[in-house]
Symmetry: D2
Subunit: 321 residues, 4 copies
Amino acid sequence: MQNLRFFTSGESHGRALTGTIEGIPANLALSAGDIDRELKRRQSGFGRGGRMKIESDHAEILSGVRWGKTVGSPITVLIENRDHKNWVDGMSADPKFSGSIPAVTRPRPGHADLAGAIKYHQHDIRNILERSSARETAARVALGAIAKKFLSEFGIRVGSYVIQIGRVQSPKFKVQSSEQELLAIFDRAEASPVRCPDEEAARGMISLIEDAIKEGNSLGGVFEVFVTGVPVGLGSHVQWDKRLDGRLAQALMSIQAIKAVEVGLGFEMSGRSGSDVMDEIFYKDSAKSQVTSRKSQVASHKPLHAGFYRKTNTPGGSRAA
Amino acid sequence: MQNLRFFTSGESHGRALTGTIEGIPANLALSAGDIDRELKRRQSGFGRGGRMKIESDHAEILSGVRWGKTVGSPITVLIENRDHKNWVDGMSADPKFSGSIPAVTRPRPGHADLAGAIKYHQHDIRNILERSSARETAARVALGAIAKKFLSEFGIRVGSYVIQIGRVQSPKFKVQSSEQELLAIFDRAEASPVRCPDEEAARGMISLIEDAIKEGNSLGGVFEVFVTGVPVGLGSHVQWDKRLDGRLAQALMSIQAIKAVEVGLGFEMSGRSGSDVMDEIFYKDSAKSQVTSRKSQVASHKPLHAGFYRKTNTPGGSRAA
Amino acid sequence: MQNLRFFTSGESHGRALTGTIEGIPANLALSAGDIDRELKRRQSGFGRGGRMKIESDHAEILSGVRWGKTVGSPITVLIENRDHKNWVDGMSADPKFSGSIPAVTRPRPGHADLAGAIKYHQHDIRNILERSSARETAARVALGAIAKKFLSEFGIRVGSYVIQIGRVQSPKFKVQSSEQELLAIFDRAEASPVRCPDEEAARGMISLIEDAIKEGNSLGGVFEVFVTGVPVGLGSHVQWDKRLDGRLAQALMSIQAIKAVEVGLGFEMSGRSGSDVMDEIFYKDSAKSQVTSRKSQVASHKPLHAGFYRKTNTPGGSRAA
Amino acid sequence: MQNLRFFTSGESHGRALTGTIEGIPANLALSAGDIDRELKRRQSGFGRGGRMKIESDHAEILSGVRWGKTVGSPITVLIENRDHKNWVDGMSADPKFSGSIPAVTRPRPGHADLAGAIKYHQHDIRNILERSSARETAARVALGAIAKKFLSEFGIRVGSYVIQIGRVQSPKFKVQSSEQELLAIFDRAEASPVRCPDEEAARGMISLIEDAIKEGNSLGGVFEVFVTGVPVGLGSHVQWDKRLDGRLAQALMSIQAIKAVEVGLGFEMSGRSGSDVMDEIFYKDSAKSQVTSRKSQVASHKPLHAGFYRKTNTPGGSRAA
């Protein structure tokens, strides 16, 4: 993980977003389709804003891949902003278009607008919001798709599903679900317009979103992420910045509108005794006698039979996630 | 913040812990006493383990400070492990003491023991637990004390208090409390044996801890951290790894036993409408017309009158922290 | 300097090179022309290969600049490989073009071919040479042009000139030349087809290059770089990786074909006494009584009147630089 | 290499120097003696200053090693400054000793004194020179000894020897020397008071140093470093900051008083044709048919039979190194 670095760039209505990831080994099979599939997932979802409909993101692989395989060099992905055609002058790098569209001068609460404008000395808040926009996550999703493809070589699967939107919560799923159960939950989520595996809860969420749309409002929510097939020993206890939970928390909390992250039982543990929340350790009944543990507490030794999961909170609403 | 780096080293029963911080400007007034004060706070608290009593940590400043002032070079702090005298052979770097104490071979659930032993190919789990131990945080507290001293030059105050231990919760404190109110809450926490500002809740927590001690059990909890006087523009929206919430989440989640982090309302926002959770923006009634916002949502533009706060969950219990 | 990071990506005959630089402050005037000017300088020079003629590089600014000013977000520059039109299938990311051009199987001496093919498990050396090619420096030049523009705001000027090609050396220029003299030398270099400020030496170099072209050979050389107007205190003595000379040496030695770097007198100092090579320190005769030093030894306290300079050796020849 | 990080701290007459290295795998045999051996080599050498005689450095391993083996956690080494006993008050962190020794107010030419005092706003230059002093390299040598021990597990040997002091040069050693020849040259250097493998040159150097001592002067010099047994593929062509030559150049140029670095033939290549300086590639006559190359140009694919070497220039003189 130390060896992997990634960065994104690009404004929301600029010419394009780009993302570069370095450290993916050579000879990994990778196509634009692998990335486009995840970009499409990002753009799906009931109640998404209008822009999601006009833009169907496509990843152009600019470097690092030849004839369907990575070559070890940095992989740069370019995602055109299809809406850019309406912003050619307004977002141009060329000074001759200065003032061609009016400045944004009213900072929105709950956004980077005010802080960004002060920090970067901008009178036109557009110069902040274009970069702070959650559209930036399209580039992160594209790079994440590459990482996901790499992990799949090791049988590692990443999945997620929504368990709450507004006041509607789905019934809880067991942390210690088997890999098969988790993947089945994930499949149901993939088929749901609100990515919720529970059909009844999903209906409630849809109805809530319809109401919010009528009011011109947005909704928060909670989703869970799980990873299966994780080998023992990712992350490390030797230094604060190598600890896996911390790195995961940063990755999640750096997503626009995410305001809370839990690992395993999270806050639920606060009210319990230590003896109730410790991962039990078992011998696996396989020939290899692999050691496993049943509850999922520390992501760095998540067993096949549990996977870790985490909840995060998206106050920006289901439409922003 | 980019320019500040810090690392710790040291085993729990080794000769000493060390911490090095680089990037603190020259000419900051700093004494061992500034650090010892925070080390003492770390060791206080009702129901702490026996070791806390035998060791009164003291910081020796090995470098970076002369005649009470920093000189710009890296500051290294050494904290002797006073219990080391009982472990001189057992923790020696010298091969001649090999086997002088028995190996630890039973991994504890909920710890780095199993994952660490597999990752680092260790048969004696002591080689893992000595470093993964929460005692390592003594070095982080020492370096944090230096950072706190630096921040105090700008009128920035950091405080915290416990709001839950086990099933006992204190009444909520308002996020939008004024700086004075927050500091008053903090003062009450400092005077409480369980660091809880509410006396009735504190009594319940103490009683719960006494029960847990009798059972040989531990308890989880939740604490809140606030910072006042933060200038606009720490962190940045321009890149995922510069975002302040993400950096704070990593710093907190990298502490042993912390399993959840919230910023502002956190998970509570999930059930609300977007219109309810946005930070409102006000003009300050001062001559300078400084802009402020009342609710605390995005740490990067926290106003004087709110400060940000966050809750974290410590399942390892009040005694493990 | 800590806060600035930059990366490049792209293959030599791929769709495009890209470079991203982060940390340039907002509100810097910047245009594609500022970058193209440096790209053009990179492509000029007597005896350049044929490709230099067919490609006139142009920087497209994809992000980070609006209406002629930086906005604080990462700046990504895209440089199309104009020769790519002849390599569309051969360099495609799409697996359907596999094998459309023959593999390169003969590693060239003095290149990354052999080591790269072994390290990255490639049978087609093209997958290495496309990235290791000195064409990658076009992206570095583009990002360097942005840095140069930023430095120019502080009156800092960067210049260079060639002092040797093959066995032809120009007369030496004094290290302690004034800023005016240095910039005059630089102007003469800019006007020379071999970037050598001395006309007679330049004629000898041209004749040598003509001979080498006839033989199908290449030539090495030495160039000097100077910077004027540098403020006191760039770099730092506090940690090995903050020292300016080390950072400069890495930046230079990481350029393809550069095999030697000197600061100030460099190797010439080896044969001298310490008393001969120390920078003398003078008071400036200005009202401000600014302190200066005459000889240029330590780049971190280079005075206005000297600037630092360094020599580097390009065994790949004048045509590869 | 990405995974290894190291830092040093400590003032020249402070209580101690410390160095921390992180990323050394567990289970490496390591003792204080391994480090002390290199510290002793650092302190040997004809004409060293008086301090070298009074201090015989000793490494205390504070962490990361137990019973003679590394455990994977950060290794911190503490080297007491034996001369500190004469500086207890003068270098104390305690403000009560302020002014106990006079301030240094005269900046020495060719040192960090002036630039450092301006950068860090210090009136007493001691606050700069204590850290900028070449004594800091004792901590780097200690950490380097650990790295050397690690490399020795793979049969990788690092050696060096002096080829010039002042105007006295030893005859050249062939770059393409075999591993055996290089190690023999190294052994002769180890036995020489000036670390020069050529006895006649060594005599000249000694005489020169004696003269310089009488004059109160110092001398520059050049040394070569070689590494044998290096596997193919250290470093990488994929990004500027992963290139091995650049990383080596930074490491060397960040040493106090080093002002020039060459890889392989270095500046000598400038005067030659490209066809003369390319590494030829050969098949090894071993059963494994390993590929090798005879000349040493690119460090990243140095073969057993050549090793790379580099020259560096130490204008601060043999006594300053």
